[in-house]
């Protein structure tokens, strides 16, 4: 674990501190103060993203440090979207997720700037990675709902639909993003390497995760499939496990080196 005593590092720590404080305020039933603090964390995280992008000279999505930085900065607007548009609760835990996601950027991954290798200089770079990042956050929120469902907590938060419906709505929004990420990546692979699909470990993990979520929708279409809420929640968790493995393990473990190794920290 390394402390980053730089402007960028302090911005990340400021964002993390606001996120943690927002979580505490939400837990202490101070939703208004929690929301404002959460928003302050969002501003700090985006300041870090902007600072990094300005220094890098390109959108900061190149390596694990930058990807986790962006992920941490995306939580607040998606929390608001989920509450206002999807009518889904659980906003109180989102700042904690943001804090957890910013942690590796603040303490684990190497923030050293590296120039973009030729393969990453593509107009598909930003849409491919951003589509995945957005999908990952929705799937993370679905996994939280699924974990609460399986842990036997209340069936629904007051004023919000039940957890099975929340899981469905979240995966329903995240799945098209994941599909776009997969398709844009395949098309980019065709342009850069000559094939849509290179059987690279990261590609295979991402396919597995996509298939689990596709299976989730097919499962719900079974006769009485929607009544097996626990199974749906298990699928949401299994799919998110695939997401985490796609994002983290494949990049970190030398066992899975492949065409996506440039994203290594």
């Amino acid at each position: 674990m390394t402390l980053q005593a730089t402007t960028l590092g302090w911005l990340i720590y400021l964002g993390m501190a606001f996120y943690l404080l927002a979580f505490v305020l939400f837990k202490a039933h101070r939703p208004k103060a929690g929301t404002w603090t959460y928003a302050a964390g969002f501003i700090a995280a985006w300041a870090a993203v902007g600072f990094r992008g300005w220094h890098a000279g390109h959108p900061p999505l190149q390596n694990m440090f930058e990807v986790f930085l962006i992920l941490g900065a995306l939580f607040f607007p998606l929390s608001v979207f989920c509450r206002r548009v999807l009518n889904i609760g659980g906003e109180w835990i989102d700042p904690l997720l943001g804090f957890v996601v910013l942690w590796p950027a603040g303490f684990v991954f190497d923030p050293q700037l590296k120039p973009l290798p030729p393969a990453l200089q593509s107009p598909l770079f930003v849409p491919h990675v951003m589509a995945y990042m957005l999908s990952y956050i929705f799937m993370a929120k679905a996994a939280v709902q699924a974990a609460a469902r399986l842990a036997g907590g209340p069936a629904a938060e007051p004023g919000f639909p039940d957890r099975d419906e929340a899981i469905y709505r979240l995966i329903g929004v995240g799945f098209p993003f994941m599909t776009l990420g997969l398709l844009l990546g395949a098309w980019w692979g065709k342009l850069a390497w000559g094939d849509y699909w290179n059987w690279d470990p990261k590609e295979l993990w991402s396919l597995a995760a996509w298939l689990v979520y596709a299976g989730y929708f097919h499962f719900r279409a079974l006769p009485n499939g929607r009544t097996y809420g626990r199974a749906g929640a298990v699928l949401a968790l299994v799919g998110f496990t695939g997401v985490v493995l796609t994002l983290l393990w494949v990049n970190l473990a030398g066992r899975f080196s492949g065409l996506h190794s440039y994203a290594m920290p």
């Binding site: 009518n87 590296k114 120039p115 290798p117 030729p118 393969a119 200089q121 593509s122 919000f160 639909p161 039940d162 099975d164 419906e165 469905y168 709505r169 329903g172 929004v173 799945f175 098209p176 599909t179 776009l180 398709l183 395949a186 098309w187 980019w188 065709k190 342009l191 850069a192 390497w193 000559g194 094939d195 849509y196 699909w197 290179n198 059987w199 690279d200 470990p201 295979l204 993990w205 396919l207 597995a208 298939l211 689990v212 596709a214 299976g215 097919h218 499962f219 279409a221 079974l222 006769p223 929607r226 695939g242 494949v250 066992r255 899975f256 492949g258 065409l259």
Partner: protein, 351 residues
């Protein structure tokens, strides 16, 4: 069996196919890309691909749920087209097409070209075995490697040892930060180094001349590194200087090496020749392949920093438009199905 029961069974078989493929994809991730590619093209997997193709086709035709929702239908059709296009674009199917006279030319291959050379010959990945001719020729007009500017001094003074790696023995170097007059400890053999002088720093293409004193106990020797035009790596082995020294690695040395700036792009300017006439002229770069005569041609690699030749990769384009149409249908179908027409319960409860 009535239609309803058939549809339910179809859905169950599709679920088995989806989760089965997910499990196989996870298993494939442990194989590494090369072995996974072989596995996913094996007869067993070919049977599974056909099974999935059949499930998709049956879903499009028989599933009422899929048929009554255009977006869902488009998603399933998109998957089917991607699968069919990829199969049609595979090297195995290409071989069959050639044997039935439906296609001609090699499926894929590599071409090594020096500037001014023209060739239509494709070779295998080792560039040693001829795999077939292209239906046109490619002339390499120019090849260059573009670099990012180096923001630091390209010459690095360090202490290093050699260790085994996949590519043979490789240097592991620890940079030494040392100004004139300063003394630093070397990480090997209880040796210290005093920088006596370093000159000149410019121009950076020629190495600086570094005069140093190496000290071990009461012994001290003076040595000079660098200064030869055109050389980019200097090694001063330590064990011959101090034979009594205890070195865990006999390769321990003081090194002066030139860092190569990071590569920004590889650019091959080519002219496509058909019947001895130039028909197309353009640059092939990473992410910008050339498409001509049923082939996509990619910038694959080169001979490193000397830029004497480029290596291009050519692959057949059959089935690509089918798969691309599938991409569009699947992407649009998913967006419309889940974003524009989501099924929401009226009361906010379970749908």
């Amino acid at each position: 069996m009535n239609m309803k029961a058939f549809q339910h069974n179809l859905l169950r078989w599709s679920l088995i196919g989806i989760f089965g493929l997910a499990a196989i994809a996870v298993a494939g991730a442990f194989l590494g890309a090369e072995r996974a590619k072989l596995f996913f093209h094996s007869p067993l997997m070919t049977a599974i691909w056909f099974f999935l193709l059949l499930c998709l086709l049956a879903g499009l035709v028989f599933s009422a749920r899929v048929r009554r929702r255009p977006a869902s239908w488009a998603m399933h059709l998109g998957c089917l087209l991607i699968l069919a296009g990829s199969m049609w674009n595979s090297s195995d199917v290409h071989r069959w097409r050639v044997s039935f006279g439906l296609d001609a030319g090699p499926y894929s291959g590599f071409m090594r070209l020096k500037p001014g050379e023209t060739s239509d010959r494709l070779a295998d990945a080792s560039l040693s075995r001829f795999v077939g001719p292209l239906p046109f020729s490619i002339r390499l007009d120019d090849f260059r490697i573009e670099h990012y500017p180096l923001e630091t001094d390209p010459w690095v003074l360090g202490a290093g040892i050699t260790v085994p790696s996949r590519q043979g023995m490789a240097w592991v170097i620890q940079p030494l930060k040392c100004e004139t007059g300063q003394v630093v400890n070397l990480p090997y053999g209880d040796i210290r180094m005093r920088m006596l002088s370093r000159s000149p720093r410019e121009p950076s293409s020629t190495s600086p001349v570094i005069e140093m004193q190496l000290i071990r106990g009461a012994d001290a020797v003076r040595r000079t590194l660098g200064g030869d035009p055109g050389r980019s790596f200097y090694q001063l082995p330590l064990s011959p200087l101090f034979p009594e020294g205890v070195f865990s690695n006999r390769s321990a040395s003081v090194l002066l090496s030139r860092q190569e700036p990071p590569v920004r792009d590889y650019v091959s300017r080519v002219t496509v020749m058909k019947d001895a006439k130039a028909v197309l002229q353009r640059a092939i770069e990473v992410n910008q392949p050339l498409h001509y005569g049923g082939y996509h041609i990619y910038q694959h690699s080169c001979d490193g920093q000397t830029q004497r030749y480029t290596i291009l990769y050519a692959v057949k384009d059959s089935g690509v438009s089918l798969a691309l149409a599938g991409f569009v249908l699947l992407g649009l179908g998913a967006a419309v199905q889940f974003w524009l027409q989501p099924r929401r319960p009226k009361n906010g409860g379970a749908s």
